[in-house]
Symmetry: C2
Subunit: 801 residues, 2 copies
């Protein structure tokens, strides 16, 4: 038994890919879904007991797994993984901390504040620079690719040679994607995808392993360049958000594991979860800002995803980082484009200016119903996209979990994408006359007469950003409806297949492109039915918003991002209405894409509010109990045993003190974290009973900060038998004033306290008897477990996935 639980615990510490391959197999064999629907009369006491996975079931699946490594990895999304730890946004106000704060004068606080600003400026600058590098490299490579295709086009004009050309491109794309995918599969699996779900989780307060490492950043940047140039249906915007977050974590901590460098002296103060999370918010905002030229949208993205408690100075700093990021990108791009000072390319994607001077572009009141209808279409298509992608992801988790398979899948997608594109181009006859407005684009003549270009080829072979822009702004007759319809269909399927592949890539731009295509189609159809006001470009914009909203279901920040990217506040209201409609319609069927992926990872994600109908539940039913408590002066042996107990694997321990002369239960006097105990054990802060208490080595906050954030596991710390008999005085190190709630507190109230303060542990005390006794501990997973399903309140299972 001990052996089994040990194995479980190790898999829980392994990194994400390992856990998927190992941990899932071990435990989630045949967990039945337990759907609990609350009805009025039902006693709630029984529910608490369902909250942990029965050990027997664990053993069964363990036995199953011993029979041989199965090809299929089952997965159950009604689970919450215990492997994720929470960030601690609450300051640990122990004696050491208070002493330090009290020692600091007003000037020190000022200096700290200034250094926070400097760090935010640096974050913005570096993020902007990365965006700039990505943009320039992609553009250069795409230019080369275009020249080659164009060249081939001139050399061969017989239909037969098409296949040579096609196979050349397919081959080239495959190589690129292979590089991208190899990077992701081997050195840094966390760099796969857009990174937005991971950053959402981090900002929500969940510690995702390796998500903010420098190596992840490098793989991400390299991967995204290869993917975009390789012609996949992906964008380079999503990964920017992840990149910004990594930059922020790196700069603020002044230390890199990958580089093995430590600039200890500068930013030591920032080495705690609170500060780090604040900086990562700034980084994510800077990423959004660089990607879309939307500094305000960036700030709102960070707040929407991350803010526990709105802090004015913090928001202001985040905004500063965003601004610097946009500015840096803009400035370097203006130099690159040989127009220094022309700061009109604020982001990686630029929707172009929607001027409302011309009557046709401004919208009218009677168009609003059409917009809302398009929002509904966007919601439906988005839900379809998400459902297809959900099935695909389940399939991938089950069958495509080996790195070599993942690389092969990526190459297959690349080959199919290129082939489909060629087939489409080959069979479409949408040749349009070349005009002067294409001076900066890459019109492809493929299969068209001289002086004409193939509009399907333009849609497929440009970078997706350029295609979106041309769908928004080109003259009404540029695309014919059939081209748009076919393009929507194929690109929809390709984008859906591509998302979740083991390459770094975003889903923002493909969504916009799909939406712009069918939106433009709607506009053309409306215009052809006699509505002269229906400007196809405007409808393309609305369609793009609807499709993106239907897929990702972001609301506030997305509206602002779209408004900032179009540079026209007039479109705010229709975009908002469209996004709302898309969200409402889409939510009826399935959750947003990022939420689906978060759920599939079984992350204990906390939403903004407790489920509406959860007033039934009280802290008593929600909490984990019994709790392992430590005494204020505790035997070292007991501490080591508690920490080594892998069946519980707790991270926070209430510290209690025995009331003298009574058989009454011990009284709460503080809370101490596993990480703190580990540092104490490592530094041997013991008191031998024989000697005086003064021999206890004095620890500084610095010692804790130096160990942050990768505290060694308890197994790596050797404690001799003699030392086990020593005592450890926790008074100085514990947080003496942990937040507590009585056990009758309702779930929404507990939730609000937990969420507003970004807590990691909330102690539940029993006030019924004479003493305030610790009866339980509420952690993130206890709250994340309850969610509002189709059939009322549901409760997720907890598992060591």
């Amino acid at each position: 038994m001990a052996n089994i639980t040990k194995k479980v615990s190790w898999s829980s510490r392994a990194d994400e890919s390992g856990a998927t391959a190992e941990g899932t197999r071990l435990l989630n064999g045949s967990e039945p879904r337990r759907l609990i629907q609350f009805s009025e009369g039902r006693s709630l006491f029984q529910i608490g007991r369902l909250s942990t996975v029965d050990l027997e079931e664990e053993m069964m699946s363990e036995e199953e797994s011993l029979r041989g490594r199965p090809k299929e990895i089952p997965h159950n999304e009604k689970l919450l993984s215990l492997k994720y730890e929470s960030l601690d946004y609450d300051n640990i106000e122990n004696q050491l901390f208070l002493e330090e704060e009290r020692r600091m004068g007003y000037m020190n606080f000022r200096c700290l504040e200034i250094s926070r600003w400097v760090v935010c400026g640096l974050i913005g600058f570096l993020t902007g620079l990365i965006a700039c590098v990505i943009d320039i490299v992609v553009e250069q490579l795409a230019g080369i690719k275009y020249q080659v295709v164009k060249g081939e086009n001139h050399r061969f004009s017989a239909y037969l040679t098409v296949f040579i050309l096609a196979s050349l491109i397919v081959e080239r794309n495959c190589w690129l994607i292979m590089f991208s995918s190899l990077g992701v599969c081997f050195p840094s699996p966390i760099a796969a995808g857009s990174g937005i779900p991971q950053i959402k989780c981090y900002l929500n307060g969940v510690k995702i392993p390796r998500v903010v490492r420098l190596k992840t950043l490098l793989v991400k940047v390299f991967g995204v360049i290869c993917s975009v140039v390789g012609g996949l249906a992906v964008g380079k915007e999503g990964p920017m958000i992840h990149s910004g977050a990594v930059v922020a974590a790196g700069v603020s901590q002044g230390r890199s594991t990958s580089l093995k460098r430590d600039f200890n002296y500068i930013f030591e103060y920032f080495r705690r979860d609170t500060e780090k999370r604040d900086f990562v918010s700034a980084g994510a905002a800077a990423g959004v800002s660089a990607a879309f030229g939307a500094p305000i949208g960036g700030v709102l993205f960070s707040l929407e995803e991350g803010a526990s408690f709105w802090n004015q100075m913090l928001t202001w700093r985040i905004f500063f980082a965003s601004m610097i990021s946009t500015f840096t990108l803009n400035f370097f791009l203006s130099i690159y484009h040989n127009k220094p000072g022309d700061l009109s390319n604020p982001g990686l994607i630029n929707f172009g200016r929607f001027e409302n001077n011309s009557q046709s572009v401004a919208y009218n009141l009677y168009e609003i119903p059409f917009f809302i209808a398009m929002g509904a279409i966007g919601g439906l298509l988005g839900a379809l996209f998400n459902i297809l992608n959900y099935w695909l992801t389940i399939f991938r988790i089950r069958y495509v979990h080996r790195p070599c398979l993942q690389v092969m899948e990526a190459m297959l997608v690349a080959a199919v994408t290129a082939t489909v594109a060629f087939t489409m181009i080959y069979f479409s006859n949408d040749c349009q006359p070349l005009s002067s407005e294409h001076a900066e684009e890459y019109p492809l003549q493929l299969f068209c007469a001289d002086g004409e270009y193939n509009s399907m080829a333009t849609a497929f072979f440009n970078t997706p950003e350029k295609s979106v822009r041309s769908l928004f702004h080109n003259q009404p007759r540029t695309y014919n409806p059939l081209t748009l319809g076919l393009f929507t269909l194929t690109y929809f399927l390709l984008a859906c297949w591509t998302y979740g592949l083991a390459v770094s890539a975003g889903v923002f731009i493909p969504s916009l492109l799909i939406g712009a295509a069918w939106g433009r189609l709607c506009g053309i159809l409306l215009a052809s039915s006699g509505s002269m006001w229906a400007d196809p470009g405007k409808y393309a914009l609305i369609g793009a918003a609807a499709q993106l909203g239907g897929i990702v279901r972001m609301t506030l920040s997305l509206t602002v991002i779209m408004v900032e990217a179009t540079g026209n506040v007039t479109y705010g209201l229709p975009i908002m209405l469209v996004l709302m409609t898309a969200k409402i319609v889409g939510d009826y069927f399935v959750e947003g894409l990022y939420d689906i992926h978060i759920k599939l990872q079984s992350v204990p994600f906390l939403h903004w509010e407790a489920p509406g109908t959860s007033h039934w539940l009280t802290a008593r039913e929600v909490m984990s109990s019994p709790v392992t408590c430590l005494n204020k002066i505790e035997k070292v042996g007991t501490i080591v045993d508690t920490l080594s107990n892998t069946s519980t694997n707790h991270n926070g321990f209430p510290v209690v003190v025995q009331v003298t002369g009574g058989d009454e239960p011990a009284k709460l006097c503080g809370l101490i974290l596993r990480s703190q105990l580990i540092v104490l054990l490592k530094h041997k802060v013991f008191v031998e009973l024989a000697r005086s208490r003064l021999t206890q080595r004095k620890l500084q906050l610095k010692d804790f900060r130096d160990a942050y954030p990768r505290f060694p596991p308890i197994q790596s710390i050797h404690v001799s038998q003699d030392e086990r008999e020593c005592m450890m005085d926790l008074t100085e190190f514990m947080n003496p004033t942990p937040y507590t709630v009585p056990q009758e507190t309702s779930l929404p109230r507990v939730f609000k306290l937990f969420r507003a303060l970004g807590l990691r542990h909330l102690v539940v005390v029993d006030e019924e008897n004479r003493d305030s006794k610790v009866v339980g501990l509420v952690t993130r997973k206890d709250l994340a477990r309850y969610h509002l399903g189709k059939h009322g309140l549901e409760e997720l299972q907890l598992a060591q996935t």
Copy 2:
């Protein structure tokens, strides 16, 4: 003695104007400032005792006041008034509430949510409509005024007649201002000024009497029209924010005291502080949105000033209200301008489009130092403005406290403004040739040759919005430097004198105008010194931002408002830098204008974080103690006596239960509010000891909601001697799970909990002994008392002002 305290208590219930006239006189006679500077060694126990005003001193000043009503009303800004009550953002989760919530199904929550959206839409619509009415009426009246001046101009051209013209205008302006001021002084004193300080306080959680009444709104709208047309140096934007807030409070509560109407059945659920404050946030945002065409800026304004806890759905609703508001205004204005569908006038003020196509308007890197220097100038001038206005306000509080004096002062200012304007125009010779670009403005020919117009007169006689716009956009040679310099100087002094006058008026536009004038001057000077890149319009924009930032010291929302109003995200970074510089420089000298006025009102305003160096203080030193506790089943007489005790005038009472068979102190089991007790007493929810407990009348939540928000005073409730002997069972009505902290908790921690959850009362318990005993209560005033002054941490006095 009883008589005296009674008098004090009554003055604390009186409305604001009454309190200023009565309460201040009674108590604040000769309070010495007590500056407490914390040093390391000092015992902190002594500090707690200083926190209440000595009764003896009160009696002394009472005696003084009996000698005769003094002409001078002394005022001490180192005081916190006890007359302001807090809003309760925390839900009172008593049994009634939980029962109701549990009774509500999923569909009810949905309906509630939908009705919240409908209310927000209504708020936005009505706010936009009000903005529209103000705009159209002001424009019409200004047009009439212009025609008259122009007519006079043609009739007389001798220099002598100038005085006739001048006196005519002076007279007309005086009448208008008298109307405006009369409205403010008599029916609704709270409608004076811009209303932004009051809304800031409300959103911060302080209940300002009468601030959200319908009457206030009517007076405000009428007053602002008169003030703007009357030619004062005021804007119509600030009052819009207040108007939006009033609309929100009215619509959401479905009830008006002024109209004596009650739409009870619709929005009953929204009758509590939490919901009302949320809606008022939306209203304020809608107001900003309508004023500046800045829906995102409006949302950020509300969040910056109000948000305790960031809630995504709430923010989204606020955004919706803002959008609707902008859209409504835009739509009706487009109809008014005979261009239906042209939605390009998003706000009351429109900075015009700053296009960055021309090289001269985009800024360069080397201009940034100039911008920062201008930010510093703005900070200095802003600080000067604030200091002058501070002295003026102190003077007004002391000597100009009678309504008739206030009206006379307002008329004097109007007369002086018009006279000064005429003198300036008379002595300036800045005649500029008329060109086609003035087609829509009102160029005045006064004293100029035919075909020319007087640019000083244009700056003075246009509405300030138009002047700002022409300073931003007119051709470089439109204004000569001397005109601008003189204009800046006079307008600065006039605006400073005007703010705080008993008229409804905003300071946003005057600040922008002053800044635009000296900013343009800087631009002209730079350009004349050979810098061809210095476009005066651009420098006018930067100057406007600097001046406004220096005066109001808003940061994030102001940047966004400016960016949205210019419609160009490129200027984001320089505007941000300028605002930051202005804030830093200005803060060195004095606080922002709104904060000064809030402080002068002695409002217990909570900032975002506890002062940096306050880790010294713990809940024990901060809390109010002793606390009046009630028993769970309490004698009615005791409750009446407790509520009638005007020397304490508490609003929240911890409910305790005696532990059976012990001499130990009673244990905390809940918290009940004065307002709840009043309702219970009013409905005679008593249990006679002789009968069974079942006779207690069953109260519904509805009874509490019907009484909200104007609960009668205890004096108005008659309780007979028999009834005094009855018991009252508080179990159902108290909040059984109030938040508590141990008394060792540090002030920043208490502050964070209080602020994040928007609490009104926080119970401090003593965990040292065996029992959790109530030892104190932390309320808003206990936290607001500490602030960081020039000499370290200072503590304000509390007084019944």
